[in-house]
Symmetry: C2
Subunit: 437 residues, 2 copies
């Protein structure tokens, strides 16, 4: 049995607070190692990439073989089954359709003083997507990162994916192809992030790097941030399921386990208004768990971080949800829309019993890269906006400058910035000396 809390218990606040502040991740300090790798790639370029790939991935490359050729990609992609291809294509189409709606609009207007104001969105010129190798090489993550970038209009999109011992995941290459990415390097780890940020003779630098990775990749992203943009650094994943008493315990148990099987540090939380349902779900988890191939991982997550909370009512559940600010929030209740309106801090909400979180990982359309570790209080999932930037626009007529310029002069004087004021004043003086335009 996982921890079970009841909001009516005297010690609930203390125990809930403990849960909120519990650290689920061992942060290994790899900063020095990573700094060394980045320095090496900056100084020795392609030679460093080949050396490091030989050392870490047991794969001998040359600058000429770093990049997958078109033939190599085609040969790998041809290995994918018709069924897998159909599923990945359906996912890509739905993710594209969702993200196309996120494209923001430019704006321009002229105000009463004659100032034309607005903004304009433009795409990042080049973006690099990191795809982890090995067990965590999720083709779905390729779609979730590459498609928003494509939709945003990023001209050059690069993928770096390690292929330890030369092993390639054909689905990752198919996902890249479905996303329109053809520049793919078999380079991984901190060295890939360094190459993307600083460039080498073979890999031109990019402006923004996104995608998940291990501790070395995460540390490298932090270190190159500023030189390039990065997406969030994701922590362990979590799901919060809020359920009323009439829900199917097995469904809820599977949803909790789907989160738990990601990672021993993942967290699955159930809040229910019905103690009997809480008990039934705990039982269902115990019954289903041993049958999972990833039972060891899911079991550790459920044992260490699994939590069932009995709440008095759904309003209380919503309050707790807002304090948790979950990455994924599933509302298995009769009126999920009303409850969703009260849940203001969450990465993604899944409404009703027929929207298991797992469809959101793959095919529903919204992005599965979402804020973890309570950061949904202040941040959002990956979107088209992450690959765009906004330039503000201002164009004043002489009349507009005459109308609002004196206020700028006054404020510049109050801040002790005389050239600021003089740059406005010189223009207004000339206007005053000649006939009105």
């Amino acid at each position: 049995m996982p921890v079970t809390l009841n909001t009516s218990d005297a010690d609930f606040e203390a125990r809930f607070g403990e849960m909120l502040s519990a650290k689920r991740e061992d942060s290994v300090d790899v900063n020095d190692v990573v700094a060394g790798i980045i320095r090496d790639v900056r100084h020795r370029g392609d030679v460093a990439l080949c050396d490091l790939t030989s050392r870490f991935d047991r794969l001998d490359l040359t600058p000429a073989t770093m990049r997958f050729s078109a033939d190599e990609i085609a040969a790998q992609v041809a290995k994918v089954s018709v069924e897998d291809r159909a599923a990945l294509t359906l996912a890509a189409d739905r993710i594209r359709a969702y993200h196309e709606r996120q494209l923001p609009e430019d704006a321009s207007w002229t105000d009463a003083q004659g100032a034309t104001l607005g903004w304009r969105w433009t795409a990042v010129s080049a973006a690099g997507l990191y795809v982890p190798g090995g067990q965590a090489a999720y083709p779905s993550s390729v779609l979730m990162n590459a498609i928003p970038a494509r939709v945003a209009g990023v001209e050059r999109l690069v993928i770096c994916v390690p292929t330890p011992d030369g092993v390639v995941n054909p689905l990752v290459l198919l996902a890249a192809q479905l996303s329109g990415v053809t520049e793919i390097y078999r380079i991984g780890g901190a060295q890939a992030i360094a190459a993307l940020a600083y460039g080498t003779d073979t890999i031109a630098p990019v402006d923004k790097i996104t995608g998940p990775g291990n501790a070395y990749v995460a540390a490298a992203k932090r270190q190159v941030f500023g030189k390039v943009g990065i997406d969030m650094i994701a922590g362990p994943s979590e799901v919060l399921v809020i359920a009323e008493g009439d829900q199917h315990p097995d469904w809820l148990a599977l949803d909790l386990l789907a989160q738990a099987e990601h990672d021993a540090d993942a967290q699955s939380i159930l809040i229910t208004t019905d103690p009997a349902l809480g008990h039934a779900v705990a039982g269902a988890v115990d019954r289903i768990l041993p049958s999972l191939p990833r039972a060891a991982i899911a079991g550790a997550s459920w044992r260490d971080y699994g939590t069932i909370i009995i709440a008095r009512n759904l309003d209380e559940a919503a309050d707790l949800s807002n304090r948790i600010a979950p990455e994924h929030l599933e509302l298995c209740v009769d009126d999920p829309d009303t409850l969703a309106a009260k849940c203001v801090h969450a990465g993604a909400i899944f409404l009703g019993p027929h929207t298991p979180e797992a469809v959101g990982d793959y095919v529903s359309g919204p992005n599965h890269v979402l804020p973890t570790a309570r950061s949904a209080r202040f941040s959002s999932g990956l979107s088209v906006l992450d690959f765009l930037k906004r330039t503000t626009i201002a164009k004043l007529t002489p009349g507009a400058l005459a109308a609002i310029g004196p206020a700028a002069m006054r404020l510049a004087a109050s801040e002790g910035l005389q050239a600021h004021g003089a740059s406005v004043e010189a223009r207004i003086r000339i206007l005053n000396e000649r006939p009105a335009e």
Copy 2:
């Protein structure tokens, strides 16, 4: 004379590249000191805040006197002249009007499969704004940070501003009042950032921290990032002016000097198609510079980083501008709209000769917190979006799940995540066992 480059010179690429990669900032490593301050505030709370304020700001506070009382604010605000108040009010009104247009729209639609999808924007619950003390205490920065937060709908907005030796800037308090902020603490430095991120008995924690500050404040923001959201860490400011030959040299010289007077590390660049104009502007800078109260700062900036580039034509100027990705871009040309369309990487563009950058610092309406150090390639200025976050929404009917669920099951299997697939499959199986809904 500053550096003058000509795109026709054989060594132009090399020298332009040098300029782009030049580091303008001495980054003092204060990370250990700052980590100690954060630890101290986390452990000793208000006591640490009072001790540190006494040590760094020579001001003795108690928990009861940390916060400005309503009477204290009123007394300070009453000192502001009618003219300053009018200027600040005009600025606040224009900034508010601009940012109100940035409020994004929620979306919801139902697709052909019966999936209702969309997203919803909600405000960060609590935000903390850091305002530097001393010379850099710019009331305009209070408006530029607090008003977007207010417009976004942030419920609780807190200002921390150091008052070394007890000296208060009445305009800062007026700017806070005009922005609707009443919770203001006379705490500064890394200790203020620690208090905002982790909270003390007196200062409740916030979810997002924005605002400029010195190296200690910047390091503290980096260290608390993740626990809370932060805005960008700004580097030294820069302006790029692109001008054709018929422009007034004094105006351009003043615009370059307005940037240079901010900081010895600031950079002012002129690109012109007319060598004679370049020469005239350089002369005007030399003539005007000695008359500025901040001549020492502006002179150092212009000497060390000022650059004049002679370009063959405006298309070439636009290409160079995109490589510089300037924070501020001023287009003093006959057809600024056409040129602006070609300049895709810039924080803010000021079109035409009557839009000096200085009006953008105060009163034009767009935000003056903008991406520095070439980061306009991948990031945007501060906006209402920085105080909002987006929650994605998905709600599937049983029919929608039956239509797209099998693809999710297939992909889950390919990624080895069995509980993911089972959570979908269990629901679809039940659907198949009972009459269609």
